[in-house]
Protein backbone atom coordinates (compact mmCIF):
# COMPACT_ATOMS: atom_id res chain seq x y z
CA UNK A 1 0.00 0.00 0.00
CA UNK A 2 1.33 3.41 -0.89
CA UNK A 3 1.26 6.11 1.75
CA UNK A 4 1.12 9.75 0.73
CA UNK A 5 2.45 12.63 2.80
CA UNK A 6 0.41 15.84 2.90
CA UNK A 7 2.32 18.40 0.84
CA UNK A 8 3.40 21.83 2.09
CA UNK A 9 1.53 24.80 0.59
CA UNK A 10 3.77 26.60 -1.92
CA UNK A 11 3.55 30.16 -3.25
CA UNK A 12 1.89 30.40 -6.68
CA UNK A 13 4.23 30.39 -9.70
CA UNK A 14 5.55 33.77 -10.89
CA UNK A 15 4.03 35.15 -14.09
CA UNK A 16 5.83 33.19 -16.72
CA UNK A 17 5.33 35.45 -19.73
CA UNK A 18 7.45 38.56 -20.27
CA UNK A 19 6.76 41.34 -22.77
CA UNK A 20 7.42 39.15 -25.79
CA UNK A 21 5.25 36.45 -24.30
CA UNK A 22 2.43 38.93 -23.83
CA UNK A 23 2.71 40.19 -27.41
CA UNK A 24 2.76 36.68 -28.78
CA UNK A 25 -0.24 35.60 -26.68
CA UNK A 26 -2.39 38.68 -27.19
CA UNK A 27 -1.48 40.13 -30.57
CA UNK A 28 -0.06 37.33 -32.71
CA UNK A 29 -1.76 34.15 -31.52
CA UNK A 30 -3.44 33.19 -34.81
CA UNK A 31 -3.47 34.26 -38.47
CA UNK A 32 -6.72 36.18 -37.89
CA UNK A 33 -5.23 37.84 -34.84
CA UNK A 34 -2.12 38.83 -36.81
CA UNK A 35 -4.27 40.33 -39.56
CA UNK A 36 -6.32 42.29 -37.01
CA UNK A 37 -3.16 43.53 -35.30
CA UNK A 38 -1.78 44.74 -38.63
CA UNK A 39 -5.08 46.43 -39.51
CA UNK A 40 -5.17 48.14 -36.12
CA UNK A 41 -1.61 49.35 -36.49
CA UNK A 42 -2.38 50.68 -39.99
CA UNK A 43 -5.43 52.61 -38.77
CA UNK A 44 -3.54 54.10 -35.83
CA UNK A 45 -0.65 55.18 -38.06
CA UNK A 46 -2.99 56.78 -40.61
CA UNK A 47 -5.24 58.73 -38.27
CA UNK A 48 -3.28 59.47 -35.13
CA UNK A 49 -0.44 61.68 -36.48
CA UNK A 50 -2.70 64.22 -38.28
CA UNK A 51 -5.01 64.31 -35.28
CA UNK A 52 -2.18 64.99 -32.85
CA UNK A 53 -0.76 67.53 -35.22
CA UNK A 54 -4.08 69.40 -35.37
CA UNK A 55 -4.84 69.20 -31.66
CA UNK A 56 -1.37 69.81 -30.22
CA UNK A 57 1.68 70.33 -32.43
CA UNK A 58 0.38 73.04 -34.74
CA UNK A 59 -2.33 74.36 -32.43
CA UNK A 60 -2.44 77.84 -30.87
CA UNK A 61 -3.04 78.26 -27.19
CA UNK A 62 -2.24 81.87 -26.41
CA UNK A 63 -3.38 85.29 -27.55
CA UNK A 64 -6.53 87.37 -27.23
CA UNK A 65 -8.23 87.28 -30.60
CA UNK A 66 -8.69 85.31 -33.79
CA UNK A 67 -5.49 86.89 -35.13
CA UNK A 68 -3.41 84.77 -32.80
CA UNK A 69 -4.55 81.65 -34.63
CA UNK A 70 -2.14 81.46 -37.55
CA UNK A 71 -0.46 78.09 -37.50
CA UNK A 72 -3.30 76.17 -39.14
CA UNK A 73 -4.00 73.76 -36.26
CA UNK A 74 -6.70 73.99 -33.64
CA UNK A 75 -7.45 77.45 -32.32
CA UNK A 76 -7.55 76.76 -28.59
CA UNK A 77 -7.12 80.50 -28.04
CA UNK A 78 -10.88 80.70 -28.51
CA UNK A 79 -11.44 78.27 -25.65
CA UNK A 80 -8.94 79.87 -23.27
CA UNK A 81 -10.48 83.28 -23.93
CA UNK A 82 -14.02 82.11 -23.46
CA UNK A 83 -13.31 79.76 -20.58
CA UNK A 84 -14.79 82.08 -17.92
CA UNK A 85 -18.03 82.27 -19.91
CA UNK A 86 -18.10 78.48 -20.41
CA UNK A 87 -17.56 78.04 -16.69
CA UNK A 88 -19.80 80.66 -15.11
CA UNK A 89 -22.23 81.78 -17.81
CA UNK A 90 -23.57 85.22 -17.00
CA UNK A 91 -22.78 84.96 -13.30
CA UNK A 92 -21.57 88.47 -12.34
CA UNK A 93 -17.80 88.65 -12.36
CA UNK A 94 -17.23 90.06 -8.86
CA UNK A 95 -19.32 87.24 -7.41
CA UNK A 96 -17.62 84.36 -9.21
CA UNK A 97 -15.53 83.50 -6.16
CA UNK A 98 -18.73 82.00 -4.76
CA UNK A 99 -18.95 79.60 -7.66
CA UNK A 100 -15.28 78.74 -7.17
CA UNK A 101 -15.94 77.88 -3.56
CA UNK A 102 -18.80 75.69 -4.76
CA UNK A 103 -16.43 73.87 -7.15
CA UNK A 104 -13.91 73.46 -4.35
CA UNK A 105 -16.52 72.05 -1.99
CA UNK A 106 -17.66 69.60 -4.65
CA UNK A 107 -14.07 68.52 -5.27
CA UNK A 108 -13.44 68.23 -1.53
CA UNK A 109 -16.36 65.83 -1.26
CA UNK A 110 -15.71 63.87 -4.45
CA UNK A 111 -11.95 63.34 -4.41
CA UNK A 112 -11.82 61.41 -1.11
CA UNK A 113 -14.33 58.97 -2.61
CA UNK A 114 -11.75 57.94 -5.20
CA UNK A 115 -9.00 57.38 -2.66
CA UNK A 116 -8.92 54.24 -0.62
CA UNK A 117 -8.45 54.36 3.13
CA UNK A 118 -9.54 57.85 4.00
CA UNK A 119 -10.99 57.84 7.48
CA UNK A 120 -14.61 58.93 7.69
CA UNK A 121 -15.04 59.02 3.94
CA UNK A 122 -18.60 57.75 4.17
CA UNK A 123 -19.45 60.73 6.40
CA UNK A 124 -17.90 63.08 3.86
CA UNK A 125 -20.02 61.36 1.23
CA UNK A 126 -23.14 61.67 3.35
CA UNK A 127 -22.48 65.38 3.80
CA UNK A 128 -22.07 65.62 0.03
CA UNK A 129 -25.57 64.20 -0.44
CA UNK A 130 -27.32 66.25 2.24
CA UNK A 131 -25.56 69.34 3.57
CA UNK A 132 -23.60 70.21 0.47
CA UNK A 133 -26.53 70.86 -1.90
CA UNK A 134 -28.16 73.19 0.63
CA UNK A 135 -24.92 74.99 1.40
CA UNK A 136 -24.10 75.47 -2.27
CA UNK A 137 -27.64 76.59 -3.08
CA UNK A 138 -27.36 79.35 -0.46
CA UNK A 139 -23.88 80.24 -1.61
CA UNK A 140 -24.81 80.52 -5.28
CA UNK A 141 -28.16 82.25 -5.06
CA UNK A 142 -27.25 84.53 -2.14
CA UNK A 143 -29.73 87.01 -0.75
CA UNK A 144 -28.84 86.18 2.84
CA UNK A 145 -25.76 86.50 5.06
CA UNK A 146 -24.85 89.67 3.18
CA UNK A 147 -24.34 87.77 -0.05
CA UNK A 148 -25.63 89.62 -3.07
CA UNK A 149 -28.58 87.88 -4.66
CA UNK A 150 -27.82 86.33 -8.05
CA UNK A 151 -30.99 85.25 -9.88
CA UNK A 152 -30.81 81.84 -11.50
CA UNK A 153 -31.19 83.19 -15.03
CA UNK A 154 -27.65 84.50 -14.64
CA UNK A 155 -26.34 81.02 -13.87
CA UNK A 156 -24.78 79.18 -16.75
CA UNK A 157 -21.98 77.16 -18.26
CA UNK A 158 -20.31 74.27 -16.53
CA UNK A 159 -21.61 75.49 -13.20
CA UNK A 160 -25.21 75.18 -14.35
CA UNK A 161 -24.56 71.76 -15.89
CA UNK A 162 -23.09 70.55 -12.60
CA UNK A 163 -25.98 71.98 -10.59
CA UNK A 164 -28.51 70.23 -12.83
CA UNK A 165 -26.64 66.93 -12.83
CA UNK A 166 -25.85 66.93 -9.14
CA UNK A 167 -29.37 67.75 -8.01
CA UNK A 168 -30.74 65.24 -10.52
CA UNK A 169 -28.47 62.49 -9.23
CA UNK A 170 -28.91 63.24 -5.54
CA UNK A 171 -32.68 63.49 -5.94
CA UNK A 172 -33.32 60.64 -8.38
CA UNK A 173 -31.64 57.87 -6.37
CA UNK A 174 -33.69 58.08 -3.14
CA UNK A 175 -36.93 58.81 -4.98
CA UNK A 176 -36.17 55.89 -7.29
CA UNK A 177 -35.64 53.59 -4.31
CA UNK A 178 -38.97 54.62 -2.78
CA UNK A 179 -40.79 54.16 -6.09
CA UNK A 180 -39.22 50.76 -6.67
CA UNK A 181 -40.21 49.56 -3.20
CA UNK A 182 -43.67 51.03 -3.70
CA UNK A 183 -44.16 49.23 -6.97
CA UNK A 184 -43.42 45.94 -5.21
CA UNK A 185 -45.56 46.77 -2.19
CA UNK A 186 -48.28 44.46 -0.90
CA UNK A 187 -50.59 47.45 -0.53
CA UNK A 188 -52.59 47.97 -3.73
CA UNK A 189 -52.96 51.75 -3.36
CA UNK A 190 -49.23 52.29 -2.93
CA UNK A 191 -48.50 49.96 -5.80
CA UNK A 192 -50.93 51.66 -8.16
CA UNK A 193 -49.71 55.15 -7.30
CA UNK A 194 -46.06 54.22 -7.81
CA UNK A 195 -46.69 52.28 -11.00
CA UNK A 196 -48.72 55.12 -12.47
CA UNK A 197 -46.07 57.66 -11.55
CA UNK A 198 -43.30 55.59 -13.12
CA UNK A 199 -45.19 54.82 -16.30
CA UNK A 200 -46.34 58.41 -16.77
CA UNK A 201 -42.90 59.95 -16.45
CA UNK A 202 -41.17 57.20 -18.38
CA UNK A 203 -43.61 57.49 -21.24
CA UNK A 204 -42.84 61.08 -22.21
CA UNK A 205 -39.64 62.49 -23.68
CA UNK A 206 -37.56 64.65 -21.35
CA UNK A 207 -37.77 67.49 -23.82
CA UNK A 208 -41.53 67.65 -23.48
CA UNK A 209 -41.28 67.42 -19.70
CA UNK A 210 -39.00 70.45 -19.70
CA UNK A 211 -41.21 72.23 -22.17
CA UNK A 212 -44.32 71.63 -20.10
CA UNK A 213 -42.50 72.70 -16.94
CA UNK A 214 -41.49 75.98 -18.49
CA UNK A 215 -44.42 76.87 -20.75
CA UNK A 216 -47.50 75.12 -19.45
CA UNK A 217 -46.99 75.12 -15.72
CA UNK A 218 -47.14 78.93 -15.43
CA UNK A 219 -50.53 78.84 -17.19
CA UNK A 220 -51.96 76.75 -14.39
CA UNK A 221 -50.44 78.75 -11.59
CA UNK A 222 -52.48 81.65 -10.22
CA UNK A 223 -51.69 85.17 -11.41
CA UNK A 224 -48.57 86.63 -9.79
CA UNK A 225 -47.26 83.33 -8.53
CA UNK A 226 -44.10 82.44 -10.35
CA UNK A 227 -41.56 79.98 -9.47
CA UNK A 228 -38.06 79.81 -10.62
CA UNK A 229 -37.40 78.42 -14.07
CA UNK A 230 -34.29 76.55 -12.95
CA UNK A 231 -36.20 75.03 -10.06
CA UNK A 232 -38.89 73.84 -12.45
CA UNK A 233 -36.26 72.29 -14.69
CA UNK A 234 -34.64 70.62 -11.70
CA UNK A 235 -37.93 69.12 -10.57
CA UNK A 236 -38.70 67.95 -14.10
CA UNK A 237 -35.31 66.28 -14.54
CA UNK A 238 -35.38 64.68 -11.09
CA UNK A 239 -38.86 63.21 -11.52
CA UNK A 240 -38.07 61.98 -15.01
CA UNK A 241 -34.84 60.30 -13.96
CA UNK A 242 -36.26 58.86 -10.76
CA UNK A 243 -38.80 56.93 -12.84
CA UNK A 244 -35.93 55.34 -14.78
CA UNK A 245 -33.97 54.81 -11.59
CA UNK A 246 -36.95 53.07 -10.00
CA UNK A 247 -37.04 50.46 -12.76
CA UNK A 248 -33.30 49.86 -12.57
CA UNK A 249 -33.55 49.33 -8.82
CA UNK A 250 -36.62 47.14 -9.16
CA UNK A 251 -34.54 44.89 -11.39
CA UNK A 252 -32.07 44.57 -8.53
CA UNK A 253 -34.79 43.86 -6.00
CA UNK A 254 -36.15 41.08 -8.17
CA UNK A 255 -32.75 39.42 -8.31
CA UNK A 256 -32.57 38.94 -4.54
CA UNK A 257 -33.56 35.36 -3.65
CA UNK A 258 -36.64 34.82 -1.50
CA UNK A 259 -34.47 33.16 1.13
CA UNK A 260 -32.94 36.51 2.01
CA UNK A 261 -36.34 38.00 2.81
CA UNK A 262 -37.27 34.89 4.79
CA UNK A 263 -34.05 34.85 6.80
CA UNK A 264 -34.53 38.53 7.64
CA UNK A 265 -38.14 37.95 8.72
CA UNK A 266 -37.23 34.86 10.73
CA UNK A 267 -34.69 36.92 12.67
CA UNK A 268 -37.46 39.35 13.57
CA UNK A 269 -36.43 42.22 11.30
CA UNK A 270 -39.43 44.25 10.18
CA UNK A 271 -40.10 45.52 6.65
CA UNK A 272 -37.99 48.69 6.80
CA UNK A 273 -35.06 47.06 8.54
CA UNK A 274 -35.07 44.07 6.18
CA UNK A 275 -35.09 46.43 3.26
CA UNK A 276 -32.54 48.86 4.63
CA UNK A 277 -30.08 46.37 6.07
CA UNK A 278 -30.45 43.27 3.95
CA UNK A 279 -32.27 43.70 0.67
CA UNK A 280 -31.36 47.17 -0.62
CA UNK A 281 -27.62 46.95 0.06
CA UNK A 282 -27.51 43.79 -2.04
CA UNK A 283 -29.94 44.98 -4.71
CA UNK A 284 -28.22 48.34 -5.19
CA UNK A 285 -24.84 46.66 -5.41
CA UNK A 286 -26.16 44.35 -8.13
CA UNK A 287 -27.42 47.22 -10.26
CA UNK A 288 -24.50 49.63 -9.88
CA UNK A 289 -23.85 49.41 -13.65
CA UNK A 290 -27.48 50.28 -14.37
CA UNK A 291 -27.54 53.10 -11.84
CA UNK A 292 -24.38 54.65 -13.23
CA UNK A 293 -25.75 54.24 -16.73
CA UNK A 294 -28.76 56.29 -15.67
CA UNK A 295 -26.53 58.89 -14.01
CA UNK A 296 -24.44 59.24 -17.15
CA UNK A 297 -27.44 59.66 -19.39
CA UNK A 298 -28.88 62.14 -16.90
CA UNK A 299 -25.65 64.10 -17.03
CA UNK A 300 -25.80 64.33 -20.79
CA UNK A 301 -29.54 64.99 -20.88
CA UNK A 302 -29.01 68.19 -18.92
CA UNK A 303 -28.05 69.73 -22.26
CA UNK A 304 -31.73 69.70 -23.17
CA UNK A 305 -32.40 72.64 -20.86
CA UNK A 306 -31.39 74.81 -23.79
CA UNK A 307 -34.95 74.57 -25.09
CA UNK A 308 -36.23 76.45 -22.07
CA UNK A 309 -33.56 79.08 -22.42
CA UNK A 310 -31.07 77.96 -19.80
CA UNK A 311 -27.40 78.27 -20.72
CA UNK A 312 -25.65 75.05 -19.83
CA UNK A 313 -22.07 74.45 -20.95
CA UNK A 314 -23.04 73.22 -24.40
CA UNK A 315 -25.25 76.23 -24.94
CA UNK A 316 -22.52 78.68 -23.88
CA UNK A 317 -20.25 77.05 -26.46
CA UNK A 318 -23.05 77.14 -29.02
CA UNK A 319 -23.65 80.82 -28.59
CA UNK A 320 -19.94 81.65 -28.60
CA UNK A 321 -19.11 80.00 -31.90
CA UNK A 322 -21.54 82.27 -33.75
CA UNK A 323 -19.77 85.32 -32.35
CA UNK A 324 -18.63 87.23 -35.46
CA UNK A 325 -15.25 88.06 -33.96
CA UNK A 326 -14.31 84.40 -34.19
CA UNK A 327 -14.40 82.39 -37.41
CA UNK A 328 -14.39 78.65 -37.88
CA UNK A 329 -14.08 77.76 -34.24
CA UNK A 330 -17.07 75.40 -34.19
CA UNK A 331 -14.86 72.29 -34.16
CA UNK A 332 -12.76 73.53 -31.27
CA UNK A 333 -15.88 74.54 -29.37
CA UNK A 334 -17.67 71.24 -29.76
CA UNK A 335 -14.52 69.21 -29.09
CA UNK A 336 -14.12 71.18 -25.87
CA UNK A 337 -17.77 70.63 -24.89
CA UNK A 338 -17.60 66.94 -25.72
CA UNK A 339 -14.35 66.56 -23.80
CA UNK A 340 -15.84 68.29 -20.72
CA UNK A 341 -18.78 65.88 -20.70
CA UNK A 342 -16.53 62.92 -21.30
CA UNK A 343 -14.30 63.79 -18.33
CA UNK A 344 -17.25 63.77 -15.94
CA UNK A 345 -19.00 60.73 -17.37
CA UNK A 346 -15.79 58.74 -17.53
CA UNK A 347 -15.00 59.60 -13.90
CA UNK A 348 -18.43 58.33 -12.88
CA UNK A 349 -17.83 55.12 -14.78
CA UNK A 350 -14.40 54.60 -13.16
CA UNK A 351 -15.81 55.35 -9.75
CA UNK A 352 -18.55 52.78 -10.19
CA UNK A 353 -16.05 50.13 -11.24
CA UNK A 354 -13.92 50.83 -8.18
CA UNK A 355 -17.05 50.64 -6.04
CA UNK A 356 -18.04 47.30 -7.56
CA UNK A 357 -14.62 45.87 -6.84
CA UNK A 358 -14.71 47.18 -3.29
CA UNK A 359 -18.17 45.80 -2.54
CA UNK A 360 -17.41 42.44 -4.08
CA UNK A 361 -17.49 39.82 -1.32
CA UNK A 362 -16.61 36.19 -1.75
CA UNK A 363 -17.14 34.28 -4.92
CA UNK A 364 -19.23 35.36 -7.83
CA UNK A 365 -22.07 32.99 -8.39
Amino acid sequence: MAVFELKEALPPPARSAGATGWIRANLLSSPLNIALTLLGAYLILTFLPPLLDWAIFSADFTGETQDACVSGGACWTFITNRLPFFTYGFYPEPERWRVNIGFLLLAAVMIPQFIEKIPGKQWIGLFGLTGLPILVAILLSGGIFGLESVPTDKWGGLMLTLVLAFVGIVGALPIGVVLALGRRSQMPIVRIVCTTFIELWRGVPLISVLFMASVMLPLFLPEGVSFDKLLRALIGITMFQSAYMAEVIRGGLQAIPRGQYEAASALGLGYWRSMGLIILPQALKLVIPGIVNTFISLFKDTTLVLIIGLFDILQTVNSSIVDPSWNNVATEGYVFAAFSFWVFCFSMSRYSQALERKLHTGHKR
Partner: protein, 267 residues
Protein backbone atom coordinates in the same frame (compact mmCIF):
# COMPACT_ATOMS: atom_id res chain seq x y z
CA UNK B 1 -33.99 9.15 4.82
CA UNK B 2 -30.40 8.24 5.10
CA UNK B 3 -27.93 7.57 7.84
CA UNK B 4 -24.82 9.61 7.22
CA UNK B 5 -24.03 9.43 10.90
CA UNK B 6 -25.10 6.28 12.71
CA UNK B 7 -26.75 6.05 16.08
CA UNK B 8 -23.63 4.53 17.67
CA UNK B 9 -21.38 7.23 16.30
CA UNK B 10 -23.53 9.96 17.79
CA UNK B 11 -23.81 8.19 21.15
CA UNK B 12 -20.05 7.68 21.37
CA UNK B 13 -19.44 11.42 21.13
CA UNK B 14 -22.33 12.68 23.20
CA UNK B 15 -23.04 11.08 26.54
CA UNK B 16 -25.59 13.53 27.91
CA UNK B 17 -28.36 12.76 25.46
CA UNK B 18 -30.87 11.38 27.92
CA UNK B 19 -33.00 14.12 29.48
CA UNK B 20 -36.32 15.00 31.04
CA UNK B 21 -38.92 16.74 28.92
CA UNK B 22 -40.55 19.68 30.67
CA UNK B 23 -44.25 19.76 31.42
CA UNK B 24 -45.03 23.21 30.11
CA UNK B 25 -46.25 23.57 26.56
CA UNK B 26 -44.28 25.94 24.29
CA UNK B 27 -45.97 25.31 20.97
CA UNK B 28 -49.57 24.36 20.57
CA UNK B 29 -51.06 23.85 17.14
CA UNK B 30 -54.76 23.05 16.96
CA UNK B 31 -56.62 22.00 13.84
CA UNK B 32 -54.37 23.99 11.53
CA UNK B 33 -55.48 24.14 7.90
CA UNK B 34 -53.81 25.84 4.98
CA UNK B 35 -54.45 26.16 1.28
CA UNK B 36 -52.27 27.34 -1.60
CA UNK B 37 -55.00 28.57 -3.91
CA UNK B 38 -57.26 25.53 -4.28
CA UNK B 39 -54.62 23.13 -3.04
CA UNK B 40 -55.21 21.94 0.52
CA UNK B 41 -51.62 21.61 1.82
CA UNK B 42 -52.18 21.20 5.56
CA UNK B 43 -55.18 19.29 6.86
CA UNK B 44 -56.17 19.45 10.52
CA UNK B 45 -52.65 19.43 11.86
CA UNK B 46 -52.49 19.08 15.66
CA UNK B 47 -49.18 19.31 17.46
CA UNK B 48 -48.14 20.00 21.03
CA UNK B 49 -44.50 20.63 21.89
CA UNK B 50 -43.19 20.80 25.46
CA UNK B 51 -40.22 22.76 26.69
CA UNK B 52 -36.95 20.98 25.95
CA UNK B 53 -38.60 18.52 23.61
CA UNK B 54 -36.90 17.53 20.37
CA UNK B 55 -39.14 16.58 17.52
CA UNK B 56 -38.16 15.18 14.17
CA UNK B 57 -40.61 15.56 11.30
CA UNK B 58 -40.25 13.30 8.29
CA UNK B 59 -42.29 12.21 5.33
CA UNK B 60 -42.24 12.08 1.55
CA UNK B 61 -41.47 15.11 -0.58
CA UNK B 62 -44.36 17.56 -0.84
CA UNK B 63 -46.12 16.25 2.25
CA UNK B 64 -46.14 19.67 3.93
CA UNK B 65 -43.27 19.36 6.41
CA UNK B 66 -41.69 22.67 5.51
CA UNK B 67 -45.05 24.41 5.37
CA UNK B 68 -45.89 23.17 8.86
CA UNK B 69 -42.80 24.52 10.55
CA UNK B 70 -42.83 27.70 8.49
CA UNK B 71 -46.30 28.42 9.86
CA UNK B 72 -44.85 28.45 13.37
CA UNK B 73 -42.90 31.67 12.72
CA UNK B 74 -45.32 33.08 10.18
CA UNK B 75 -43.19 32.69 7.08
CA UNK B 76 -46.41 31.10 5.85
CA UNK B 77 -49.85 32.10 6.99
CA UNK B 78 -52.31 29.45 8.18
CA UNK B 79 -55.95 30.00 7.32
CA UNK B 80 -57.77 27.95 9.92
CA UNK B 81 -57.00 26.75 13.40
CA UNK B 82 -54.89 28.14 16.21
CA UNK B 83 -51.16 28.38 16.82
CA UNK B 84 -49.88 29.39 20.25
CA UNK B 85 -46.17 29.91 20.72
CA UNK B 86 -45.07 30.38 24.31
CA UNK B 87 -48.56 31.53 25.19
CA UNK B 88 -48.80 34.11 22.39
CA UNK B 89 -51.38 33.49 19.70
CA UNK B 90 -50.18 33.81 16.13
CA UNK B 91 -52.64 36.03 14.27
CA UNK B 92 -52.53 39.10 12.10
CA UNK B 93 -51.35 41.24 15.00
CA UNK B 94 -47.87 42.41 13.99
CA UNK B 95 -46.86 42.76 17.65
CA UNK B 96 -47.53 39.08 18.25
CA UNK B 97 -45.68 38.04 15.13
CA UNK B 98 -42.68 40.11 16.18
CA UNK B 99 -42.77 38.70 19.70
CA UNK B 100 -42.89 35.14 18.40
CA UNK B 101 -40.10 35.67 15.86
CA UNK B 102 -37.87 36.94 18.66
CA UNK B 103 -38.32 33.62 20.47
CA UNK B 104 -38.12 31.28 17.51
CA UNK B 105 -34.93 30.72 15.55
CA UNK B 106 -34.89 29.11 12.12
CA UNK B 107 -32.24 27.33 10.07
CA UNK B 108 -32.86 26.85 6.36
CA UNK B 109 -31.82 24.22 3.88
CA UNK B 110 -29.88 26.78 1.83
CA UNK B 111 -28.42 28.63 4.81
CA UNK B 112 -29.67 32.06 3.64
CA UNK B 113 -26.74 33.92 5.12
CA UNK B 114 -26.47 37.57 4.15
CA UNK B 115 -23.68 37.57 1.56
CA UNK B 116 -22.84 41.27 1.86
CA UNK B 117 -22.03 41.00 5.59
CA UNK B 118 -19.17 39.23 7.32
CA UNK B 119 -19.86 36.19 9.47
CA UNK B 120 -19.68 38.30 12.62
CA UNK B 121 -21.95 41.00 11.18
CA UNK B 122 -24.44 38.31 10.16
CA UNK B 123 -24.55 37.20 13.77
CA UNK B 124 -24.85 40.57 15.49
CA UNK B 125 -27.29 42.23 13.07
CA UNK B 126 -30.53 41.02 14.63
CA UNK B 127 -29.43 41.33 18.28
CA UNK B 128 -28.44 44.94 17.64
CA UNK B 129 -31.44 46.00 15.56
CA UNK B 130 -34.19 43.83 17.02
CA UNK B 131 -33.09 43.28 20.61
CA UNK B 132 -31.36 46.68 20.81
CA UNK B 133 -28.27 45.23 22.42
CA UNK B 134 -25.07 47.26 22.57
CA UNK B 135 -22.73 46.21 19.75
CA UNK B 136 -19.92 45.19 22.07
CA UNK B 137 -22.11 42.85 24.07
CA UNK B 138 -23.63 41.34 20.92
CA UNK B 139 -20.19 40.77 19.41
CA UNK B 140 -18.90 39.08 22.53
CA UNK B 141 -21.79 36.65 22.56
CA UNK B 142 -21.51 36.07 18.83
CA UNK B 143 -17.86 35.13 19.26
CA UNK B 144 -18.76 32.71 22.04
CA UNK B 145 -21.37 31.09 19.82
CA UNK B 146 -19.03 30.93 16.85
CA UNK B 147 -16.60 29.17 19.13
CA UNK B 148 -19.32 26.75 20.10
CA UNK B 149 -19.98 25.89 16.45
CA UNK B 150 -16.19 25.66 16.09
CA UNK B 151 -15.51 28.45 13.59
CA UNK B 152 -14.34 31.50 15.57
CA UNK B 153 -11.43 31.99 13.16
CA UNK B 154 -13.82 32.67 10.26
CA UNK B 155 -15.56 35.61 11.93
CA UNK B 156 -14.12 38.25 9.60
CA UNK B 157 -14.77 36.33 6.40
CA UNK B 158 -17.74 36.65 4.09
CA UNK B 159 -20.19 33.74 3.72
CA UNK B 160 -19.13 33.25 0.08
CA UNK B 161 -15.67 32.31 1.30
CA UNK B 162 -16.83 29.44 3.53
CA UNK B 163 -17.69 25.81 2.81
CA UNK B 164 -21.30 24.69 2.94
CA UNK B 165 -20.93 23.06 6.33
CA UNK B 166 -19.26 26.14 7.77
CA UNK B 167 -22.01 28.32 6.34
CA UNK B 168 -24.71 26.21 7.93
CA UNK B 169 -22.95 26.36 11.29
CA UNK B 170 -22.75 30.13 10.96
CA UNK B 171 -26.48 30.12 10.22
CA UNK B 172 -27.09 28.15 13.41
CA UNK B 173 -24.90 30.55 15.40
CA UNK B 174 -26.74 33.50 13.85
CA UNK B 175 -30.07 32.12 15.06
CA UNK B 176 -28.70 31.35 18.50
CA UNK B 177 -27.44 34.93 18.86
CA UNK B 178 -31.06 35.98 19.27
CA UNK B 179 -31.22 33.64 22.30
CA UNK B 180 -34.30 31.85 21.02
CA UNK B 181 -36.34 29.46 23.13
CA UNK B 182 -37.25 27.29 20.17
CA UNK B 183 -35.23 26.30 17.12
CA UNK B 184 -36.75 25.24 13.81
CA UNK B 185 -34.62 23.33 11.31
CA UNK B 186 -35.81 22.80 7.74
CA UNK B 187 -33.64 20.06 6.23
CA UNK B 188 -30.45 21.71 7.46
CA UNK B 189 -28.19 19.04 6.01
CA UNK B 190 -29.82 18.19 2.67
CA UNK B 191 -27.66 20.58 0.68
CA UNK B 192 -24.42 19.25 2.13
CA UNK B 193 -21.79 16.59 1.46
CA UNK B 194 -21.44 13.74 4.00
CA UNK B 195 -18.34 15.22 5.63
CA UNK B 196 -20.17 18.50 6.21
CA UNK B 197 -23.37 16.78 7.33
CA UNK B 198 -21.36 15.37 10.22
CA UNK B 199 -20.17 18.80 11.34
CA UNK B 200 -23.65 20.24 11.23
CA UNK B 201 -25.34 17.28 12.92
CA UNK B 202 -22.72 17.39 15.64
CA UNK B 203 -23.59 21.03 16.29
CA UNK B 204 -27.28 20.16 16.41
CA UNK B 205 -26.77 17.27 18.82
CA UNK B 206 -24.76 19.54 21.11
CA UNK B 207 -27.60 22.02 21.03
CA UNK B 208 -30.03 19.24 21.96
CA UNK B 209 -27.81 18.21 24.87
CA UNK B 210 -28.06 21.72 26.21
CA UNK B 211 -31.83 21.39 26.41
CA UNK B 212 -32.99 23.46 23.42
CA UNK B 213 -36.53 22.89 22.21
CA UNK B 214 -36.10 21.73 18.63
CA UNK B 215 -38.30 20.94 15.66
CA UNK B 216 -36.29 19.36 12.88
CA UNK B 217 -37.41 18.41 9.43
CA UNK B 218 -34.68 15.97 8.52
CA UNK B 219 -34.01 12.73 6.77
CA UNK B 220 -31.06 11.84 8.98
CA UNK B 221 -32.18 8.62 10.67
CA UNK B 222 -29.24 8.38 13.04
CA UNK B 223 -30.08 11.82 14.36
CA UNK B 224 -33.77 10.96 14.73
CA UNK B 225 -33.02 7.70 16.58
CA UNK B 226 -30.64 9.22 19.09
CA UNK B 227 -31.86 12.76 19.63
CA UNK B 228 -35.60 12.83 19.00
CA UNK B 229 -38.13 12.45 21.78
CA UNK B 230 -40.81 12.01 19.17
CA UNK B 231 -40.84 11.36 15.45
CA UNK B 232 -43.72 12.70 13.39
CA UNK B 233 -44.57 11.29 10.01
CA UNK B 234 -46.48 13.46 7.56
CA UNK B 235 -48.19 12.47 4.36
CA UNK B 236 -50.33 14.60 2.06
CA UNK B 237 -50.60 17.43 4.54
CA UNK B 238 -51.56 15.28 7.52
CA UNK B 239 -49.76 13.88 10.51
CA UNK B 240 -50.32 10.18 9.98
CA UNK B 241 -48.08 8.73 12.66
CA UNK B 242 -46.43 10.01 15.78
CA UNK B 243 -44.32 7.94 18.15
CA UNK B 244 -41.13 7.79 20.20
CA UNK B 245 -38.23 6.89 17.86
CA UNK B 246 -37.64 3.29 18.92
CA UNK B 247 -41.25 2.30 18.31
CA UNK B 248 -41.49 4.48 15.21
CA UNK B 249 -38.61 2.77 13.45
CA UNK B 250 -39.20 -0.77 14.71
CA UNK B 251 -42.97 -1.15 14.81
CA UNK B 252 -44.56 1.42 12.52
CA UNK B 253 -48.36 1.21 12.54
CA UNK B 254 -49.53 3.11 9.46
CA UNK B 255 -49.25 1.55 5.99
CA UNK B 256 -47.74 4.72 4.51
CA UNK B 257 -45.09 4.81 7.22
CA UNK B 258 -44.21 1.16 6.69
CA UNK B 259 -43.85 1.75 2.95
CA UNK B 260 -41.75 4.88 3.54
CA UNK B 261 -39.44 3.14 6.01
CA UNK B 262 -39.06 0.04 3.86
CA UNK B 263 -38.06 2.25 0.94
CA UNK B 264 -35.32 3.78 3.06
CA UNK B 265 -34.13 0.43 4.30
CA UNK B 266 -34.00 -0.93 0.77
CA UNK B 267 -31.94 2.11 -0.11
Amino acid sequence: MSETVTEDEIRSHHDHLGHEVGRDVVIQIEQMNKWYGDFHVLRDVDLTVHRGERIVICGPSGSGKSTTIRCINRLEEHQQGRILVDGVELNNDVKNIEAIRREVGMVFQHFNLFPHLTVLENCVLAPIWVRKEPRKEAEERAMQLLERVKIPDQAKKYPGQLSGGQQQRVAIARSLCMQPKIMLFDEPTSALDPEMIKEVLDTMVTLAEEGMTMLCVTHEMGFAKTVADRVIFMDRGQIVEENEPHAFFNTPQNERTKLFLSQILAH
